[in-house]
Symmetry: D2
Subunit: 156 residues, 4 copies
Amino acid sequence: MNTPLPREGAVASGAFLYPVRVYYEDTDAAGLVYYANYFKFVERARTEMLRRLGFGQERLRAESGLVFLVRRSTADFLLPARLDDDLVVVSRLAGLGAATLDLDQEVRRGETALVRLAFQIAAVGPSGRPQRLPPPLRAALLSLNEATKMVTAHAR
Amino acid sequence: MNTPLPREGAVASGAFLYPVRVYYEDTDAAGLVYYANYFKFVERARTEMLRRLGFGQERLRAESGLVFLVRRSTADFLLPARLDDDLVVVSRLAGLGAATLDLDQEVRRGETALVRLAFQIAAVGPSGRPQRLPPPLRAALLSLNEATKMVTAHAR
Amino acid sequence: MNTPLPREGAVASGAFLYPVRVYYEDTDAAGLVYYANYFKFVERARTEMLRRLGFGQERLRAESGLVFLVRRSTADFLLPARLDDDLVVVSRLAGLGAATLDLDQEVRRGETALVRLAFQIAAVGPSGRPQRLPPPLRAALLSLNEATKMVTAHAR
Amino acid sequence: MNTPLPREGAVASGAFLYPVRVYYEDTDAAGLVYYANYFKFVERARTEMLRRLGFGQERLRAESGLVFLVRRSTADFLLPARLDDDLVVVSRLAGLGAATLDLDQEVRRGETALVRLAFQIAAVGPSGRPQRLPPPLRAALLSLNEATKMVTAHAR
């Protein structure tokens, strides 16, 4: 992370890295980032990760009626972020079902993890029923995953 | 305002009064209400005013395809609101065109005006073109206005 | 829940009930409540529950330097809420440590659970270190809990 | 604007240009950007403009106790922005007093102006009283202004 991340994020170290600057709108009277706003930061990162893989959410919806819904979230708030902080959201694929997606996301300041989140995400069709992920999207997600594994292997 | 306002607001003194409590989500690291959030407070008040007059926005959209869009806003930020403040949004009709609506709104803490706002609002149809306000809605808005004038006259 | 809830919520059925109306600001382009906003709704409910028990957060901070921080959250998003929905947040004490608090919260539309959330909350002092909950606050929280147990016993 | 803007914005054509991508969090059930959120977009742009001129708001507050408050805003909402739109906020200095600052800001999609805003901003000290702008900040703001004038002159 020595070169600045482009605003649309980048694939690096086998994960998707997305930069977030903390503005006044993100903070609260305690002087910290308001806890619900981390869920906005990571949703921006998920959106850019999909776009980077070639699957803009607007196009997915228009072409195959597919929408992503968060089914379950867990979040561990380890340390607070503050006004003007330059954060990075690190996103990794943790699981892939026929119509579901598990993602681990971490909000970091430098090398320090501030918030760790895990998401179960469902792909649903226009009727709200589960819809299988399109094969090209599956392949793109798995290629990100493979990159992750290789890098992890290298690191040992 | 000696009795507490119901959460959906009330017509009183010829205006529509709507209560807002300030929560952490509304504040920022300066310890004050973040300026953009006053625009949320007054939009809630406009929604409840219309509902009180018998015109829920969901029903208006479903029945006549009518949607309200803010065309112009001005806001004077006189004094800041803070965490835990119990505010009131006072809304008054300032003008009524065929397909437009002018509203004056004030965010108050007790008798003190904190923010004064003025809005030009357009009624548009499904195509995005201006759409005449339904006559019953016009009548309801004017009756609120008449109540205002009478009270103003009394006050002199 | 036959009589409307006051806007500051109420203790009933051994839990704390807090009403939330869904406005445009809460929704997104999918036509549903944006997922991060449920975390705002339940934080409002926690704030009003503490105020109802006699412990406004501003007073707690001023008198004993005590602030509450969410350490962990889990959320199951079962069904979506929509514009104009009239929701209720049901909050129950699930655990009480020396300087921590476990809360179960549910966002409901009528009798239907839409989102189920669980929170681990820490009481911290001005230095950011854990701070024991003041005995009167403990007693007030436990009394809410006792009310819950009694009602649960009655229901059997 | 043929090369992509860096995420922290850039001075170009005598103005400060700051890019904003529209995410789900910014939209509402009407499928458009919620009107209050444009005020967030332009505040991000003001923050980055000041940082670019060498005056991060955190540093200004720490070193001279100076905080910027919006005193007055006007906004003309010409056309709506939508999910996934790639917007640019164009900011220009419109006036400079001893302790005040006038800014014109425009939210654009490509060459199309969507929202035009004007702000009167006050510099206040720790007591909340007006505080003169530090001379180096004045000089930096005026240099931006001079750049604007030159470019305007060239364009004629």
